[in-house]
Structure formats: structure tokens, C-alpha cells
């Protein structure tokens, strides 16, 4: 899907949502959720290409795919959390958005523990 098509869809949905927000604010929020999902589905094919490229590069550089999968998981968690938090904030629930972000940060931290441990271990090995 090309960029001008995505921009066109986004502008069209924005205009409809501005009209809807005056007469039916609840359905306007649902419309923006649906538009976000549709745009993500449109760019999904390109994300797959990038992920495949990363995997190829990691194989060539002899990096363990274990670490690459951790990085991918972190990107997925932060994307999903950002998606949810932005929609909460759009609907006026800033507090709920902050909690979603906190949960995502904790999830990312837990996923990053193996990498932190590996770095610390190599540091300890380097130090006399």
C-alpha cells in the first residue's frame, strides 16, 4: 500500500470523525480505533519484509536469534501499548493511558533482563 493512499484514508477518516464527534462522540472513538487497525494492516506487508531482512542480517553476523527475537518482542509490545494509550488519551482518559504505558515499560524491562544479564556477565569477565 502506497503512502498517498494511507494519507488519503487518514484525512477522510479525520473529517468524518470531526463531524461524528459533535453528534456521537462514542462512535467517533470506535471509528478512530478501526482506522488505526486498518492502517496497520495496510503496512503489515512491509513490516514483514523488514523483519525478514533483520533476521537474515543476524544470521550472517552469527548473532544468536534468541536476542533478535527479544528485540522484536519489545518492538511489538511498545507498538501495541502505544496504540492503546493513544486511543485512551484521545478519548480523554489520560490516567488510563499512563497506566497502559507503565505496564508496557514493565513488560519490556522483564523481556530485557536476559540481555542485561549477558552484558553484566561479559563486563565481569572483562574486569580482573
Amino acid at each position: 500500500m502506497e503512502i498517498w493512499q494511507i494519507v488519503g484514508v487518514a484525512l477522510l477518516v479525520t473529517i468524518i470523525a470531526v463531524v461524528l464527534r459533535k453528534i456521537q462522540p462514542e462512535i467517533a472513538v470506535q471509528l478512530s480505533i478501526l482506522a488505526g487497525i486498518a492502517i496497520f494492516l495496510l503496512v503489515l506487508g512491509k513490516i514483514k519484509v523488514i523483519v525478514d531482512l533483520l533476521q537474515n542480517l543476524a544470521d550472517q553476523a552469527n548473532i544468536s536469534s534468541y536476542y533478535l527475537i527479544i528485540v522484536l518482542k519489545i518492538v511489538g509490545i511498545s507498538y501495541l501499548a502505544e496504540f492503546g494509550a493513544q486511543i485512551c488519551r484521545d478519548a480523554g482518559e489520560g490516567a488510563l493511558a499512563l497506566k497502559v504505558e507503565l505496564a508496557a515499560k514493565i513488560g519490556v524491562l522483564i523481556l530485557a533482563i536476559p540481555i542485561i544479564v549477558a552484558i553484566l556477565e561479559s563486563l565481569v569477565r572483562l574486569l580482573p
Partner: protein, 65 residues
């Protein structure tokens, strides 16, 4: 799940808003509120399907299990 769905939801929203305004003008406030809730639930069904699709896709692309 494609772009048609977005415009269908927008149509439902505008129609429900129109209906609620009409009912409010006619002095039937309870029925107007009921129509609002019914519209939200109707849209929620398609939203839920799309969201489960999105989560499954994100899980498979970013290998989140």
C-alpha cells in the same frame, strides 16, 4: 476487514446521531438513549473482531507468544 468497514461504521454513527436528534426533538429522551447504546454495541462487535485480528497479526509478526 478492510476500508469498507470504516465507512460502514461512519455511516452507522451518522445515522444513529440523526436518529437520536430526531427522537430528542420528539421528546422521547429514554428511547434516544437506548438507541445510542444499541448503536455503540452494534459497532463494538465489528471493533472486537478487528481488534482480535490485529492482536493475532502483531503476535505472529513480532513473535510475541
Amino acid at each position: 476487514m478492510d476500508l469498507n468497514m470504516i465507512f460502514r461504521i461512519a455511516g452507522i454513527g451518522i445515522f444513529v446521531g440523526f436518529l437520536v436528534t430526531l427522537l430528542n426533538e420528539a421528546g422521547k429522551k429514554e428511547i434516544a438513549q437506548f438507541v445510542t447504546v444499541a448503536g455503540i454495541i452494534l459497532v463494538l462487535f465489528s471493533i472486537l473482531q478487528a481488534m482480535s485480528q490485529l492482536f493475532a497479526l502483531v503476535k505472529s509478526v513480532f513473535q510475541l507468544y
